[in-house]
Symmetry: C2
Subunit: 340 residues, 2 copies
């Protein structure tokens, strides 16, 4: 018998393979199934996450400068640590390289890695470098720390909790579409120089995301403790549905509340796609999606980097998006699927 | 300017890329350059290591059962934790898979992963699963714990310290040659069934290595604290030279003291290669190589799983192998190089 992986999808596959996973160490507080794992080490807690990036699947070296790739590879992991409300401290990097990659190219990649380490106070403490006959594969593990039991999972959202998101959404997806369009033009006519200067914001969002450490620090300063949290890598709807599933809740989102950058609206119109769809399904925003108790409304509303986009409901009420026109749509995950 | 990676080699490349690596966190005790890194977490210490295995470079799915591959992928990381004299506690696994891999095949792989976790009391706490257009890539990170400052590095060997090795050497390399020979025969004539039953020991050594946790426990029980330690993945000479370089020492090894299994001697003869060469350069033994002070001779000599194969010297005396015939040879690393 042969079951294809795409029949299960990435999350189904992970659930399937880890359903019999046993926990043997008393120090294992949170295992597979969140943004990161939590282990108790001698009374304090460490947070661990890992991500793998594959050439041709997650990045295209034709329009991804290696320095940006190094920076982003670190950042996507730091973002997972943030999503636990922890502070990143250490990373390891493993690379599988073909002999097409020169030492100078790798130096550029590491420049980006060190720039991210420097900006976020993280130490690179190890790794592995090996060869491959095909494209570049990058695997990074990040470790962070959090005060005992002060980490935030995906599973604590309560009925009527407010759903909040940082920054703006959909821009990275449109940045990627712009890069893909320029690549196509270039391949058809190499004498045409790409002109992306007008679109620095959108292109910057896909090539150089930042983890929202600033928001974690702000929450700590203002004693805001989210009931659940996740970072947005696959797209808002996919992530909201994760919070609903893990917390056994439903949700209502308001289209008019979704934070969109003016450039996102302009370029979505130019591409003839709905900016709302970009926000819901685009992915790679690396913003934080979280829920807070209703009484935290005033605190959260005061921060201009945070948008309140809806609220959690009971599971029986379902998962919905209310459009600007007042229509009610079932929320479905159309996020990016590596196996699609 | 373009520099090819093979001009630097794996270790040269890592040195080159990490020469400007800054340490920002006071808790970073040991960084890049040993079997694992050590970080101080709230007064106790954690050990972290990571390894990447690439299809076609590190394993051949034609003769590697997936369950064994899962088991071995975990073990090679636990072996690095052992080599720090630490106890492994947690792992994460990331996989890049092509759509050639079925869910059932992955289940087999995870059976092996869980078998290793079970045997060594380790928890699988996270990972990432993604697709690739080419072969399977496995990246594992292992975490362990060690009492404060009780970890053993590669750099503490002193002049006249005894050089010790666990188990026997060269068997995994010959096991691999047997598998390669059977593969060739099979490809030429698929009706010929491989007969490896007589060679269960050698084939077992390449397909199902074990980390020497038993030796670490024995050392702890008998209060033996090595001055330096490394695990043997690339071959004895390569690893001895690492200890010499990191400890600023020379060494003398005795050919007649190298531990060889009877099957290793037999099959080496059959293949027309020197069993000593297999031991020195074969690799994948996952035995421990360590140095102890001269006064620990009696304690170490009593353990039949440990062979004393030579001693450290001053750096000026060089690095040598004394053959059974009494000749003195310069020791050179001919270990396995992923970029060769």
């Amino acid at each position: 018998m042969r079951t294809e992986i795409e029949n299960l999808g990435e999350f189904g596959l992970i659930d399937h393979l880890t359903k019999n996973n046993e926990i043997r160490n008393a120090g294992t507080i949170l295992s597979v199934g969140d943004d990161a794992a939590v282990i108790d080490q001698f009374g304090r807690q460490s947070v661990i996450t890992t991500d793998m990036l594959v050439e041709g699947i997650h990045f295209d070296l034709m329009y991804t400068p290696l320095k940006h790739l190094g920076y982003k590879s670190v950042v996507v992991n730091l973002s997972d640590i943030c999503a636990m409300m922890a502070t990143p401290t250490h990373i390891t990097i493993s690379l599988a390289l073909s002999n097409k990659v020169s030492v100078e190219a790798l130096e550029e990649f590491y420049e980006g890695v060190y720039a991210a380490c420097d900006k976020y106070g993280v130490d690179l403490i190890g790794g592995d470098t090996t060869s491959t006959k095909s494209g570049l594969v990058i695997s990074i593990t990040a470790i962070g720390e959090v005060a005992p039991d002060k980490f935030v999972t995906r599973s604590g959202a309560g009925d009527k909790d407010l759903i909040c998101v940082t920054g703006d959404l959909g821009a990275a997806y449109l940045g990627l579409q712009l890069l893909e369009r320029e690549k196509k033009i270039f391949l058809e006519n190499p004498s045409v120089q790409p002109d992306l200067q007008q679109q620095a914001y959108l292109v910057g969002r896909i090539l150089k995301p930042e983890p929202r450490m600033d928001i974690i620090e702000w929450m700590n300063e203002h004693a805001i403790f989210p009931t659940s949290m996740i970072d947005i890598s696959d797209g808002l709807s996919s992530e909201v549905l994760h919070l609903c599933t893990k917390s056994d809740k439903g949700c209502v989102l308001y289209e008019e509340k979704l934070p969109l950058h003016p450039d996102t609206k302009n370029i979505a119109m130019q591409f003839g796609v709905s900016a709302t769809t970009c926000a819901l399904s685009g992915g790679e925003d690396y913003e934080l999606l979280f829920t807070v108790k209703h009484e935290d409304y005033d605190k959260v509303a005061r921060n201009s980097n945070i948008s309140i986009i809806g609220y959690m409901t009971t599971i029986a009420e379902g998962k919905h998006l209310i459009t600007t026109g007042g229509n009610k749509h079932q929320l479905t995950a159309q996020g990016w699927n590596a196996f699609a």
